[in-house]
Symmetry: D2
Subunit: 153 residues, 4 copies
């Protein structure tokens, strides 16, 4: 597997100047899940990403040398009854289709892991659709599929 | 399905006086998952359940007329980039084996739903092991199995 | 688990005199799968069960001391490119709901195993719906869930 | 999806002259499943493919214009208690990695469907590992994943 995954890609926190570049990536991600969010929910998600309040997600951006955003991750550190510190939940992960197969997703996940370590989170996890084969090919390399299934009201 | 599920069972918040009755239920639950938590993690979980800080879980207890606890639920309301309000995550749910098959689990989940509605959570969800057939028999009646699988670092 | 599962139950080949008792069990089994077969398909299934031609299924009956049928199994020995002998496919398995939880299903599967051994089959297998929790509770004790999923045209 | 999938590929029955080209493909397929068969099992599989006895599999070969084999399929028509005719079981399917992503697998499956229609089979099915993402990407286009899981002794 790529030792030098995406050598020209840097992962950094999403910043206020990323607003215009971030929304199309988030919307493409939602499109992938055939999900629709109203503009006010998207605006609110952005406002919270810019907040330093720990109840909200942190945002990570994958940026190429030109400064262009090619990927995003939204990560929530939340409490668990099983942990004195935090669980790290990678809620959203998206890489621009034009920038795929170059290790950008891998770099984003590795940055999530680094942040989880920094905060001494005792678990890092995410969910994906069973048939999201492309993503799972990567996830199988970086993590373990748990035997858990998810129920929703 | 039981219209009068567990008629002698009341669901109420876990209270400070439940400490002695709560720990064996939480420990039995952990045993079921072949999980071990150190005493300080369990103590911390309890302290947080007693806190009103919204970053921590709320606790629900299923209580029979005698006042005896026969079930518990730990519920976290956390932020989501997909929601202006909250997601409701039922992290732990346990019913004393001696009190099973009487609708206690159902009543606890219904109380979680009621609390989720009160807080206008836009999703209520939980995870369970694929082979937890007994629980899934109930969950299939109350919720929908999503196509999501869970990855863990 | 039951060492003396269903002590009053005997497993024997389905015989011509079982015709009247067999059809309701096969039909209940089909009902469980919300499947409908026309009468001529059911008649043909019976005719083939009575045949000794090895291209057809063998039938096993679970019989209580009174002679009453409480369960059936239909088993096909077919060729595989991976085996010089046969694979043993348990296509249909049904136990009368009134006779459940007494080890009848277990005894039927054990009889299938014995027959598979007699014919030196190199694999014995069956399929069940992911959410057939009751049956899977038994199967998990007697066999291993493979990582295979089934596609159908 | 490719209307003219693999225009230079023809599907025809595996023939006696294919022996030398067939074995490496079958062995690569077995390698993929980390399976090992002794030479006598492989020899027997070949002998049976060459037989016209209906208890044995038929073989299909994907051949490029030069006559080179780039894919194989082994198909068993077997009896079912649910069918007056046959079920069509695609046991083995393999495409040379060097010939992938060109529609060869699709053409092989379509040829299986055509043969199943010719024999009036009432079901065509196969199994694949849950994590065989590459193959499942194709299968999802041509077939439906059933809710069935497979148990093996």
């Amino acid at each position: 597997m790529p030792v030098d995954a995406a050598p020209d890609v840097t992962i950094r926190p999403i910043e206020v100047g990323d607003r215009a570049a971030w929304e199309p990536l988030f919307r493409s991600y939602l499109d992938f899940y055939k999900a629709t969010l109203t503009q006010d929910v998207i605006d609110e998600a952005w406002t919270r990403l810019m907040s330093s309040d720990p109840q909200f997600h942190i945002g990570l951006a994958a940026v190429v040398t030109s400064g262009h955003l090619v990927g995003i991750a939204h990560v929530l550190f939340h409490r668990s009854t099983w942990s004195k510190t935090y669980y790290c939940y990678l809620e959203d992960l998206f890489v621009d289709p034009a920038a795929r197969a170059k290790g950008v997703g891998r770099k984003l996940i590795e940055a999530v892991y680094a942040e989880a370590d920094r905060r001494r989170a005792t678990r890092t996890y995410w969910a994906t659709q069973e048939f999201n084969y492309r993503a799972r090919g990567l996830y199988d390399q970086l993590a373990t599929k748990s035997p858990f299934v998810q129920y929703r009201r």
